[in-house]
Symmetry: D2
């Protein structure tokens, strides 16, 4: 590349006097630098992913997204079918369930005496509080709901859909996913208050000798989500944080590869919002370029990474998208996924 | 507090001319500042934890610890019973298995064209490479080993002990844990090459109609590990990275609380080595003070956090510990845990 | 504090369907968590600071703010007198000067072969490019402008005002500050292309034996800015990045204290946008609470810190402020500062 | 590159049972991954740099290195002439001076009520304390020492050498540099307690009408340090933190280029220890690759960056170096630099 090709597009300094909405701001960020430009790129990739009718879109959420105040953003992404499949930590689903029962998270402080909070039975999540007693109510409620199910083997998706069906709160992620037929996978379900609720139930059975009970089958989860990937023409991934949800969606191509489906490609679109970093070597912070070496992302993928707290980054790109795509509805995907799942189920 | 009480212990500037070994360096860090002092504190807490005969010690590992070159450090911690229970991501166990089969990780570069690597079928982990073909061999081997087991319900601990029994490499984490009776839990087992191997097996069964197969029961894992915590006089936790392993060990007190064991305390000792940060609100980076508000850590716990890449931090504190505790052997714990597990098992 | 007092204000989940502009978004962030809430707090502190007629406001900028695309944001803050005094790194003023001469920064890539760029004489700033030849033109131009000045002793403020007077670009920071009488201080002026220009001039004088030349007097800078602080009823500080500009504005209270003005208080308002962190012990990342121990910030100060890339954070809080304060003009400060400077000058 | 060339050097897992000293640990890190391998690389580059007899070595220190407990490490690097030129923030020299007067820094806590500290007149630096009264004593002492100098124009190097000559503490950085003839540059001298001391003196002169006084001439600093670079056959740079010291040493090649010395190359060796990151676009965190695009670092330079708190990273690489180079003495450089400075001076 020669100088004249390299110096082609000048930085255009952001002019706040001509910016009103999120859409304009994100357009402005296309010609600035550093993480603001990466935010603009993320929004462009999101835009292209959403408008690709052939793409099944997986959303992975890790970190305290719901305590962070993004519950309705995620719920709206499900309601408008911006996402076709959700993979979540157990914690975010627990926190959704807490609010689904009418409880709340509360504005707190990060600079507080935690021993006082312990005395008052208040659980802290950085600058946000939850009532410990409500947490336990939730665990026992989940235990009770689980006991309503027929003994048998369930994928986490099936179990979470049942939990969603038992909530009435229209702003619930679990409820919205249930209503819209958007599958939710939680690979480490046991590692959460939902898992605690199930363990409570298990312990009762164990102690009183009842053998019949429900199982959450992780491998069934793998098989199901692999089928969705397999039957999709193309796929896209959105990662809010890293952890298990990111790795789980990233491993779909290697999984299908080993299952013998050599022709399946990695994701064609990928966006991540993260505060982690590649230099520590972990999967949570790794680049999509690294993922290309594994085949998890296609060589010609559209991809963008932005390093910013997700409570700032996600509202900006989703907000800008929604402003420029009024009445967006991608629900044609609904029946397709639901059909798939029904066929996979038995 | 008055000035004379606040200004009591002067910073002693590190004198490298009088420092030879890791033990001396870490002692020197006790009177410096910032993360070096936190490293020294971590080592002191580790020391006290190891020497407390009543303490059951849980180690959580997340991030690319094995590709990072710390496989033998973890293996040695198991062999000397510095840890009684290991909770791991699936990835680290997979990478241990890769080497257990005689394969390797390779010194690579973070600045490389990943598309070339994809063409050469080399998987990149930041600055380290793995042969993609070997990865798949591992997945199929795991599938094969799993097929050797009787159909039935297994905790991840039971399944991983079996994998350990099938390896012969004395430097293997899985093998050492099997030999020493140190239980390994992997809550998100499906989210790894081990999970891929199991899904491969599942898919074969699914496709050819065989019903009988093995299940990995997450909730059984919860029940088992809760019993270990319940029956321990005191407990300590060491976290190398965050993610599911940290949360899983942290949730033991809330889990037992909901199960009705109100009298069970949180961990009495806690050390974490992390590159994450509390300010993003996630569990991976949260402080132990925050954990005290939940009761996960006792109010009077000895605890320390050091912010440093684990490939630097872990060798320093474990190396210093081993230098000052030659022939350390804490294996009296062995029979105790093994006994517990046997009794839990059936 | 009791539970009922601690759990008073619930998190209100962000509703993107009811958010259009930056003002609404920032209002929404007041009841979310983590860095989005800190962003909202920063905006509130900014708002209160701007509306306090007694407050002289110091802005410190470090990091690649101008290459980052925020030149016009800073320029507008000067033009509307949102800030009364600017303290900057030399680099940002250099980059402003580059554009003031009609040159540009260009959209580039962070993933590029830097040796190719070196061959093409393109300087890279992460994902942004500058033409090396233009850089040198700027240095020689600054040398020439400096040679136009009468030999003598200048504060950096005086010298920078002269540079501003020689630019015609209405979007220039230097020009706007000159026009508005907003003083700019650059404590490490020599550490920049401006310093290179002056050294070029110095070398010519040195070599040909001319003794008469201009001096930039750092200590005169200190004296001047201390007078501004001294004569202000109250003061506020805005930090975009850390480095010398932050420390320089923070040290005003200790400086006046040592000069004998014991009654002078620290800043009453303080906002910082940073990607650094307190845990490394440096001044750039330190908290305002730490600053209170020094007396740099008053005990009852309004203060907020947000951890985010400044190319994202600054436009959000300034944009929200401007949207909710149309036609904001704080120029009554102008004559006051100008008067002070004139009186200080001689 | 083909697979067989890419997969050549296996990761060798760290074996703590065979590691005693820092040298062994750092050798072990050569075949691990992530930041431990970068630490090993940094030590190798340091080693090569030190052993290159043609290399003049510049050390830049930013962040709270002295409060951090590394005062003697820096002092020893000067005493053994591991470095030929030091560029520092004013703060580190101030903190050195504090201890040089017999005062101390104290082990404190990062979790403390800063308002209480303010009441007790204790200044906090993260987890370390200083007595505010001693700080002011230092400022007035510096003012007094400065008043002893003949009125005239001084580079910061000359002024700091004088301060060094007035201290008797053999562990002082300033003293050691004075004794060894190692020049110290402080481009933003005014931005520190040293600057406060000088401003105190200035204010006295200003108020009582005395015109004669000392000036610190930044541009003279530039000219001097440029001459050292110019007359060096090759150069190396060590950065502990970023900020002005890093930029100042990095700008030597562009400075000489603009001064007409087109043939001068960038640094041939470069090591940095940082907790900043390239992705925010600032100079403090930027890569040496980026610096190559500017010509600040030669295309074939040996260079390494390690992301770690300097209180951990610096002792490890310097300690390992000293263990493997007993009785290291590079003082042949002394007379050379001293000669240069004498010739530059007049």
């Amino acid at each position: 590349m020669k100088k004249k090709d390299l110096l082609k597009f000048p930085i255009k300094h952001l002019d706040l006097t001509s910016i009103d909405g999120l859409d304009q701001l994100l357009r402005g960020f296309e010609a600035t630098s550093f993480q603001s430009r990466n935010l603009a790129k993320s929004r462009i990739v999101l835009d292209n992913m959403e408008k690709d009718e052939t793409a099944t879109i997986f959303l992975g959420i890790a970190g305290a997204i719901v305590p962070g105040g993004l519950r309705k953003v995620i719920r709206d992404m499900i309601k408008t079918h911006m996402v076709d499949v959700l993979v979540s930590t157990g914690a975010n689903l627990t926190h959704d369930f807490i609010e689904g029962m009418g409880f709340h998270h509360y504005i707190g402080s990060a600079h507080v005496d935690d021993k006082t909070l312990e005395d008052e039975k208040i659980d802290r999540i950085y600058d946000t509080y939850v009532d410990n007693a409500e947490f336990e109510t939730v665990e026992l409620t989940i235990s009770k709901y689980a006991s309503e199910l027929e003994p048998g083997i369930y994928s986490s998706r099936e179990f979470l859909a049942y939990l969603g069906s038992r909530l009435e709160d229209p702003n619930s992620i679990l409820r919205a996913a249930y209503e819209e037929g958007v599958p939710i996978y939680c690979p480490a379900l046991c590692d959460s208050a939902i898992g605690i609720g199930l363990t409570h139930l298990y312990a009762q059975g164990e102690l009183n000798g009842q053998g019949e009970r429900i199982f959450i089958d992780q491998i069934r989860d793998n098989y199901e989500i692999a089928q969705i990937k397999l039957k999709s023409e193309t796929t896209g991934a959105i990662y809010v944080g890293g952890g298990v949800p990111k790795n789980y969606i990233q491993q779909l191509e290697p999984l299908l590869d080993t299952m013998g489906y050599r022709e399946v490609d990695g994701h064609k679109y990928a966006v991540q919002i993260t505060t982690d970093d590649p230099k520590w070597g972990g999967l949570s912070g790794c680049t999509f370029e690294e993922a290309q070496s594994w085949g998890k992302i296609t060589k010609d993928a559209q991809m963008a990474t932005v390093y910013v707290d997700s409570t700032i980054g996600l509202p900006l790109i989703v907000g800008a998208f929604l402003q420029s795509n009024k009445d967006f509805d991608r629900s044609r995907k609904f029946s397709w996924i639901a059909d798939q799942l029904e066929r996979i189920e038995r």
